[in-house]
Amino acid sequence: MSDIVLETRDLVKHFPLTRGVVFKKQIGAVRAVDGINLQLRRGETLGVVGESGCGKSTLARMLVGLETPTSGDLFVQGKNMSKVGAAERRRGRRNIQLVMQDPYTSLNPRMTVGDIVGEPFEVHPDVLPKSKRRARVQELLELVGLNPDHINRYPHQFSGGQRQRIGIARALALNPEIILCDEPVSALDVSIQAQVINLLEKLQNELGLSYIFIARDLSVVRHIADRVAVMYLGKVVEIGTEDQIYENPTHPYTQALLSAVPVPDPKLRGLRDQIVLTGDVPSPANPPSGCRFRTRCWKAQDICAQQEPALAVREKSAHPSACHFAEVRDVVHAVE
Amino acid sequence: MGRYVIRRLLQFIPTVLGTMFLLHYMTSLAIQFSGNPVRALFGDRTPPPALLEAVTERLGYADPCLDQRGNPCFGLFFDRVADVFLRFDFGINLRQREVTELVADAIPFTLKLLVIAMVFEAVVGIAAGVWAGLRGGSFADNLVKISTVFVISVPIFVLGVVVREFVGVKFGNVLRDQAWIPEVISNGMFSPGFKPDYPFASLIIPGMVLGAVSLATTARLTRTSIMENIRADYVRTARAKGLANKRVIGVHTLRNSLIPVITFLGVDIGAAMAGAVVTETIFNVPGIGRLVTLSARTGESSVVIGVVTMLVLVVLVANLLVDILYAVLDPRIRYE
């Protein structure tokens, strides 16, 4: 289906743990991403949420080619990136661009805005002749709401929100179809965050982009995403439309996650059914057997330790969920 | 930790062999290009060729490869390595004394000198650094800053000669005229150089001169480090705990601040050893530095290689010890 612009099949990334004095031998691996299947449709926004360390960034880094997958395949517009030639791959990569989390560290402080936004053209000189680049960079700056005359300024002369716009302009330079946003607003103040989100939405409408939007802030994801994938310890535990996930979560982890989100409404205080998880996220180097969430799960049974639940549609869940006992539980809105 | 130490020890091997080869090649080239060092033993008198040959033979300079310019003399090198590591035989000098014996004679003096220098440097340097660091930007700070920079910029031999003449001779003579001053002070400490009667006291001033240069660096490093740490969050926490200022500085700031200082002191052992060349010459200390200088000048390759190799080992071991100390001081550093 040509509607699917990006697809991953069993994408895995293990970081080897080595030990040894002269000859290093592998004694294990950090299973940062452990078999992920995702599909991204044209013009869609796929939100990815999960706790710190669950492998969101690693996934993003594999998608943009910063990290080679340990196994699994990545299809960009139907082409398997690990099977095609280098030139093809390069062209395929151009189609996916990245907006990073921290606007303070993701811009080279010694380069001007023009150089930063224009860098993709220098790396891929075939895209645009030299003479037209400057004009295009200014166009891009204007597109993301920055003054094109500021092309010669340095990043530190801009505020966080403006810097994030620079990052977005850079991502747009090569006319990609897919933009990967790895927590693009979590470093920004609330009042600025809204500006950036509005911009991203505007660009999507104007340019028909597809987004993968990674975030920890569930309300932001809800605002922007069409579909949401919930990750836990390197795996997707539940995936569905925004409504399915937020209104009818079926995986206990999703439920706990949602219930933990504070709601900016004092009237709901004490009325929310809050699930306070105990314990920490286990180490991805040594994940629990069977269901990875079982160590913190209140529903856990013996089977959870023995058998890993597949991400599938089950009896009581209308969308794929990786829980043996997937079922809807009303969380926040019970009292509305 | 043990593993780390083993790995570091294994790393010593290429370093030591590399250093030895470097020195071996340099000294071989020296002989190849500028002739048999034995000749200089006879000075103005041209020795009978037979005698020259006999001595050359005896000192191991007769290898024919030493006649071919540019020849790296691998054979000789491997013999030497075997001698050194298998038989602990470092060869003999031009006056036919064992290098091991030469070193054994010289090393106690250098060690004493180094200990004095390091203690002086550490104690005074850290004290001055703390004093200046706590009063950043004040008069005290500037005083320490300027005076330390000044000490760094005066060549050590000028400093040494001035100290010898003014402190050792002039001021010492004044002291020696006073009957009530104990001999150890007037004759021992304030002597213009090393004195066998006062093997320790007479090294104090030379040691201080040796330590003076790095004293400045130590003080500056401590100062910067203190100034950085005093702003650290955990120092703020310590204050918030209602601890007395003395404790906040002495316990919570100092230990963290000393970590880079200790590292520097470790590296500085090598530098101090080099500085000993000058100090030992000026203050007539029969130590290693002087030994190497004289041997290098007379072209005694076995001595140069032997002694410098041993010194390199000392420096490496010192650095290792410092790294271990570093790990002890800073539990965040976990090797393995």
């Binding site: 080619g65 921290d102 | 031999f157 290098a296």
Partner: protein, 313 residues
Amino acid sequence: MSDLTSAGTAIGGAPVGAEGPVPDAPATGGKERSASLWADARRQLVRDPVFMLAFVYVLVVGSMAAFPTLWTSQDPRNCSTDRSRLAPSGDHPFGFNILGCDYYSHAIYGARPSIVIAIMATGAIVVVGGALGLLAGYYGGWVDTIISRLMDIFFSLPFLLGAIVFLTVIKRQNILTIALVLFLLSWPTIARIIRGSVISSKDLDYVHAAKAVGASNGRIMWRHILPNAIAPMLVYATIVLGAFVAAEATLTFLGVGLQPPEESWGIMISDHQVYFLEDPWLLLFPCGLLVGTVLSFILMGDALRDALDPKFR
């Protein structure tokens, strides 16, 4: 996150509208001030009296080295033992040295070898040490192992001892060989500095961003990593430049430095240090020039460090 200061002050403190194009900053003179880190640093340095003083001093010494005739019309080689050690006078402000040469012109001409050695050696360590450190830090693995071991070898040779051994072995003690030896023994330090800062900066987000765009290794090293590693290197280089000026003198004192009839401050100092009780000026003049130069470089390095360190902004 004290983003406020950096965001606000750079544009004159005026809040910037985020909706649509930002109006031009109400710059002081109508024209927008360039405000790269370097420009900021420069502005700060120009305002720092210590730095300016040191800088002027270095300029003076530099011009002595480059154009000695600007400073003196005397021939330093015009000597006569009849005038040996005559005290300073109007015509000869520094007096005469033991061979009866004009000491002032000596000091002027003596600046050149000292400065040239220091600059050549520093240049070499910056280029070679910098390049090796960059490669080691960036590629890691075997490249790093080999370069690191090589660094260890040179690093573990105590500086002066190593210099003595090399120079006595090389036997030709001229500007070139001394610079070479200073370079050989000091490049590991700068390589380590660079390696360290490369390792810490190669995982920075903006490097990843460039990689994600598809930038080549060469480009990443050259455009992204190096410029940001250059500040610590520059600071170190300034300080080491001063240290080399002093090292030349020390090597001469140890008898492995420059040889007469070359004129250098080191030779002047070590030749005359024995006279410092009788004719102290013979020692004081070259020593003063030397200490001044070393001091200036160190102070410049210090000021530079402060100016380039965002923490001190």
